[in-house]
């Protein structure tokens, strides 16, 4: 099918289908308006509390692992923004397992749209805008307070950091979902890397054991979500003493992760179609 359409047309087709389905879910959500408002506010408040924890900590201390409040806020805001973006756009791929279990994945397979797009848009949760907005407020505040000589290059670095961060989280969501083609109850495994990873990335790497930082760099490359680019932005060295160019590898790491996730998804879908559920 890809050959006859051309890749660009296929992507356009996929994005269009995604937006169509998202619009349906948004309208479904808005039929329960009060419930939506409560959920969105609750979502923002819930993730806001994480930052309040850090504020409380800084009411007793001045630095955490050598980082001041604006710097920690930058880590918090950047990680939460990247996760919020990924979670909003395709966090619901994790529902794949339940679709496999109850057989409703078959309904998606007989529609003329890519299955991944349909699963990513499935039950699109507009309430997650609350969390994203809260994260962006923290990030915005931090960016005005940290000591940075702003150059065009550094602005690009921040934008690249957020986009690659979202892509890395998105890839982890997708890898987790692909795994659910085989093990339908595995949603919590990927959550420990996404939500759990976010909880870790809010703090400076210097407060963690080196082995953990190593793992977060080379095994599950969460360090590229915000640690490495943010340290570069703030002019600090990373605790592992990696060469300077590594700090700019975020987009490359994100691309590799997305490629890997795409392959895993395809393998999972192929497996499903040859074995059923």
């Amino acid at each position: 099918m890809a050959e006859s359409f051309g890749r660009a047309a296929l992507v356009r087709h996929g994005v269009r289908a995604y937006l169509l389905i998202v619009a349906m879910w948004v309208r479904s959500t808005l039929t329960y308006r009060a419930s939506f408002v409560i959920m969105a506010v609750g979502n923002a408040a819930g993730s806001g509390l994480e930052f309040v924890t850090i504020l409380l900590m800084f009411s007793h201390i001045d630095t955490l692992g050598g980082f001041g409040l604006p710097e920690v806020a930058l880590l918090c805001g950047s990680s939460a923004t990247a996760l919020g973006l990924a979670d909003l756009l395709l966090g619901n791929v994790e529902r794949l397992g339940s679709r496999v279990r109850d057989g409703t994945l078959d309904i998606l397979l007989v529609r003329p749209a890519p299955v991944y797009v349909q699963v990513a848009a499935d039950r699109f949760a507009l309430r997650r805008v609350g969390r994203l907005a809260q994260a962006m407020v923290v990030l915005g505040w931090a960016l005005t307070r940290v000591q940075v000589d702003w150059t065009p290059g550094r602005v690009v670095l921040v934008a690249a950091m957020l986009l690659s961060g979202a892509a890395i989280f998105g890839a982890i969501f997708t890898l987790g979902a692909a795994f659910q083609f085989w093990a339908q109850d595995a949603a919590q495994v990927q959550n420990s890397f996404t939500y759990g990873g976010n909880a870790m990335l809010q703090y400076p790497p210097s407060v963690f054991a080196k082995d953990l930082v190593r793992g977060a760099t080379f095994v599950v490359p969460l360090a590229f979500v915000n640690w490495l680019p943010a340290l570069r932005l703030m002019g600090r060295d990373d605790p592992l003493g990696l060469p300077g160019w590594v700090d700019f590898m975020g987009p490359v790491v994100a691309a590799v992760m997305c490629g890997g996730a795409a392959l895993a998804w395809r393998a999972g879908l192929r497996g499903y179609r040859s074995t059923g559920s």
Binding site: L20, R27, S28, T31, D106, I107, V110, P112, S274, T275
Partner: protein, 327 residues
């Protein structure tokens, strides 16, 4: 085995299709043993364009697996499938535009939105030209009596209303083929009748090829001139409904009312008494045999008052077919 496959270029073609699943089964606390399940075990048939075919079989016979392979959901383990000349498993999304699918127990409609919104999504996702959409929707609304339902959220519809809604959703993009998996399951008599009338109309006026799986043989009797019976993954019958009686070795029943209560009738060639109730007795004889000699033999020796002949029940025929194979 194949009468009814009239068309010269078949629309659906299956040739030696197999689907084998690996199933892990518990064999102790931790041990799992793998074994193969042949859900579909070498099926070949063709369906001409515009045919309406019933596909029946007991639970687990391989009906759904066949439909899943025809729609491209599942990739066959072996054999060849062509629908409209296309291999469904390789060009799934391309074929999706040309087929309609109704899974009886899983709705494709949007639970919280008005029925009309689900149809709008179909129009956009399948890129149906507006005029075509309008024409198809109007026909469905009229024939399926959907008018009062269009503005209602799907969650408020009854099962029968939702099924009608689902069938309409599957036809808005002018599909060349319609797969219906248990389309009348759980419906009341009136809804069933309406759905059947509609399917007959669609098949006749639009030349849509229809393949329907069902447990309800009335669906088949009223809709399909051709029926395929699948059991244990194999096609055990393919032909007209009437022919099933011969294959199934079914029996007709002669019900006789005698002048008074008597001992069970004996000694009538080809027939045996299966039930006695007061002066009334039931005699079973092969469906392939004429009733006349049996009636004559009874009338000759017993005080016959009244009689009637009952045709075999198609459900019994098929039930016997399944059990016959299981032994």
């Amino acid at each position: 085995m194949t009468d009814g496959t009239g068309a010269e270029t078949p629309f659906i073609e299956l040739d030696g299709v197999r689907k084998v699943f690996q199933v892990r089964r518990k064999a102790g606390r931790l041990r799992r043993t793998k074994h193969e399940v042949r859900a579909v075990d070498g099926i070949s048939f063709t369906v001409g364009r515009g045919e309406m075919v019933g596909y029946i079989g007991p639970n687990g016979a391989g009906k759904s697996t066949t439909v899943k392979m025809l729609t491209g959901i599942l990739v066959p383990s072996a054999g060849r499938i062509r629908v409209a000349g296309i291999d469904p498993s390789r060009e799934r999304t391309g074929l999706a535009r040309r087929m309609g699918v109704v899974f009886g127990q899983r709705t494709t409609l949007w639970w919280d939105l008005p029925l009309r919104d689900s149809y709008e999504l179909v129009r956009r996702m399948y890129r149906v030209p507006y005029d075509t959409y309008r024409k198809n929707l109007d026909r469905c609304v009229e024939l399926l009596d959907l008018g009062p339902l269009l503005a209602a959220p799907v969650r408020q519809l009854s099962l029968g209303q939702r099924m009608r809604g689902d069938i309409a959703a599957a036809l808005l993009h002018d599909p060349e083929v319609l797969y219906l998996d248990e389309p009348t399951i759980g419906l009341d008599v009136i809804s069933k009748a309406r759905v059947r009338d509609f399917l007959r109309e669609v098949n006749a006026s639009l030349d849509t090829t229809v393949l329907l799986t069902t447990h309800d043989l009335t669906d088949i009797e009223q809709l399909c001139r051709r029926v395929m019976v699948i059991d244990h993954g194999r096609l055990v019958y393919d032909g007209g409904l009437a022919g099933l009686h011969e294959v199934g070795e079914s029996e007709r029943t002669l019900v006789v009312d005698l002048a008074r209560e008597m001992a069970p009738i004996e000694g009538v060639p080809g027939a045996r008494t299966v039930k006695v109730e007061g002066p009334r007795q039931w005699l079973a004889f092969p469906a392939s045999q004429s009733a006349a000699p049996v009636v004559a033999a009874v009338a000759e020796r017993w005080p016959l008052v009244d009689l009637s002949v009952r045709e075999p029940d198609i459900e019994d025929v098929i039930a016997r077919m399944y059990t016959g194979r299981a032994e």
